[in-house]
């Protein structure tokens, strides 16, 4: 029930290590924002600054309309779920959940009502008398969520809440957290290193690296229009293919040359590439935009590349083909029926409508 505004936030540790550089972000009320990036990118530090657990070196942080730089965590109207759950080991589940309310001098009846309501939503009513020690990882996770829920905070902060769960539970909890967000109608800020989590849950994703924001956008836009090489490679699995290509003048505009083959860049997509003529750029193409064998109709035309299959990885509904030609290595995601075997030489078509181009020096996107 509050928007969060981060303005020119910096975090510098003694010894001049800067963990977060000039972080600017407006988080809307009721929005589900996920900070994602490799470890050490500053995402957790940013979250902890919002929580007030880490001091802000410089910049301004607003929750609602209030400047909270110097406000203690307890007065920020936030709740946080920790990676290791941080349940109080000496208290029962009920007391864990009631603790925050008790500190705020909420009446016993109201506490009881809120705890039971949250327990019901999270399906942990039968665990209320247990100590955290007697709970499984998934159950602890629910209690941690419940402890945050009962407080009915303006902002929900979650720091890698699923990373201690096994794969199956993680998938289940993912949809539960998304549902919870809809139900609570509260602002969620969530940190993870797992791009799948980010893609599946977030309204907006903030991709970070080395303390800098790389890109902020909706999951769909981030996937379709990554602004630089890092984001393009980080989002999506299997990751986007990158090959070097030389920009040339094409039949109707520009073209990219990969070895002997030339790929026409559809003129309606092409920006002004005059500057890059004759230069080597990085061409990016997602595995699902590669077609092996035949080009389906109404897909941008292109000359096929003759490539060798080095490995076919069956995933059930589809096959990942690892392709090789000279220096270039590509992964294609194809329907399981279109099976090719290891060592086969196959024609590979690139969907020229889905090409990405990146500047080799600045690593920024030229075309997407």
């Amino acid at each position: 029930m509050a928007k969060i505004s981060l303005q020119h936030i910096y975090k510098t540790y003694s010894g001049n290590v800067t963990a977060v550089h000039d972080f600017n972000l407006e988080i809307q009320d009721k929005e589900f924002v996920i900070l994602v990036g490799p470890s050490g990118c500053g995402k957790s530090t940013t979250l902890r600054m919002i929580a007030g657990l880490e001091e802000i070196t410089s910049g301004e942080l607003y929750i609602g309309d209030r400047l909270v730089n110097d406000v203690a965590p307890k007065d920020r109207d936030i709740a946080m779920v920790f990676q290791n759950y941080a349940l109080y080991p000496h208290m029962s589940v009920y007391k864990n959940m009631a603790f925050g309310l008790k500190l705020r001098k909420v009446s016993k009846e109201e506490i009881d009502q809120k705890v039971r309501e949250a327990a019901k939503i999270l399906d942990i009513e039968h665990l209320l008398d247990r100590k955290p020690k007697a709970l499984s990882g998934g159950q602890r996770q629910r209690v941690a969520l419940g402890r945050a829920m009962v407080r009915n905070p303006a902002v929900f902060l979650l720091d890698e809440p699923l990373s201690n769960l096994d794969a199956k539970l993680r998938t289940a909890m993912r949809s539960e957290i998304a549902k919870l967000h809809k139900r609570l109608g509260t602002t969620f800020v969530y940190v993870t290193h797992d791009q799948t989590e980010a893609m599946t849950m977030a309204d907006r994703i903030v991709v970070m690296k080395d303390g800098y924001i790389q890109q902020v956008d909706t999951p769909q836009n981030l996937y379709d229009r990554p602004c630089n090489l890092f984001v393009a490679g980080f989002i999506g699995s299997p990751q986007m293919n990158f090959v070097d290509a030389v920009i040339e003048r094409g039949e109707k505009g520009y073209a990219a040359r990969l070895g002997e083959s030339v790929i026409e860049i559809p003129s309606q997509r092409a920006p002004d590439l005059e500057h890059y003529l004759g230069q080597t750029c990085v061409l990016g193409i997602r595995p699902e935009d590669l077609y092996v064998g035949a080009l389906p109709p109404n897909i941008g035309s292109a000359q096929p590349l003759e490539m060798e299959v080095t490995l076919a990885e069956l995933m059930g509904s589809e096959v990942y083909l690892y392709l090789k030609r000279g220096e270039a290595n590509l992964v294609a995601r194809t329907p399981a029926r279109a099976a090719a075997r290891d060592g086969d030489h196959v024609p590979v078509f690139l969907d020229s409508n889905k090409l990405h181009l990146f500047d080799k020096n600045t690593q920024m996107a030229i075309l997407h």
Partner: protein, 306 residues
């Protein structure tokens, strides 16, 4: 879509959280500075003075006189020898018996916790009580040790255990061993129990016997604990004066005096603080050397502890 911004900000001065740590540690640091560091400096000062508590007004610097007196002390070589003998025998026996105890305790059995509680008791008892008890056990006339040995036919007549120099030293060592074995036992048991069981399972599959397992898995894994415990026990045993003071008071004729007990007796009975201070300085020099060696051997980086 916001793109990364390379602008370096003029960051405000980071607030100093170190200050909290400093204030939390300050009382302890002051306490130790006033009551350990300062007295140590004082000891050095005393060592170069003719300072007798019986004649404080006549105190004056006398150079190395105190040290000369110590070297000239006819008992000094024997006391030094006693110190090393006492320390070496005690620590070795404590360690070996503690090792046997720990190995026996390594496998769980019913009542192990209760057993550990009981076996741990000597460590909670004061040197005074231990000293008195062993003195009473070894009593020449009414003590049970004499009586039992007579009944078993080991002895022909009663022996004055604490009246004979060599025997008295053995008795003191025995009492000290009794006091220290549980400590070693507990430390080693804990170290053994932190060894992952899959290592032993792997050894079982390889067909290693119990002795091989002990030398190739148990000992190497417990090595850091063993070294740390041994080194610290050594210095504690070397420093301990109370048990000897109570049991024999260094007697008969200095046969059981160690450097520590000798120093205490000298300070307490002669009140010659100058000479005692000189002894203390010698003690400190040895200590500093030992501490350096200790840190070299254990790679002490502050991450462990005592």
């Amino acid at each position: 879509m916001s793109i990364e911004n390379y602008k370096q900000g003029g960051a405000r001065r980071p607030r100093n959280r170190n200050r909290e740590a400093f204030f939390l540690l300050l009382p302890t640091i002051l306490l130790l500075a006033v009551f350990i560091a300062y007295p140590l400096v004082n000891t050095v000062m005393l060592a170069f003075q003719d300072y007798k508590l019986t004649d404080v007004a006549g105190a004056h610097f006398n150079g190395l006189e105190n040290f000369k007196a110590i070297v000239a002390d006819p008992y000094f070589p024997q006391i030094l020898k006693n110190s090393f003998l006492f320390t070496f025998c005690t620590v070795t026996l404590q360690f070996l018996l503690g090792l046997v105890l720990a190995l026996a305790l390594n496998k769980p059995f019913r009542g192990r916790n209760l057993y550990q509680s009981v076996i741990f008791l000597p460590w909670s008892i004061s040197a005074l009580v231990i000293g008195f008890t062993f003195r009473w056990l070894f009593n020449a006339e009414f003590g049970p040790v004499n009586d039992l040995l007579l009944r078993l036919g080991v002895l022909e007549e009663r022996v004055s255990f604490l009246g004979d120099g060599t025997l008295a030293m053995a008795c003191v060592i025995l009492a000290m061993v009794w006091y220290g074995v549980p400590f070693f036992g507990i430390m080693l048991t804990a170290a053994f129990q932190s060894i992952p069981t899959d290592l032993y399972e792997a050894a079982d599959i390889d067909g290693s016997g119990a002795i091989r397992k002990f030398f190739y898995i148990t000992l190497p894994h417990a090595k850091p604990t063993i070294i740390l415990t041994l080194l610290l026990r050594t210095i504690w045993v070397f420093n301990s004066a109370d048990l000897i003071y109570v049991m024999t008071n260094g007697g008969p004729s200095n046969a059981t005096h160690t450097l520590a007990s000798y120093m205490f007796t000298k300070a307490y009975s002669t009140l010659n603080f100058g000479q005692t201070g000189a002894l203390g300085v010698l003690f400190m020099v040895g200590l500093v050397l030992y501490a350096f060696a200790f840190m070299k051997v254990t790679n002490y980086d502050g991450s462990g502890g005592f």
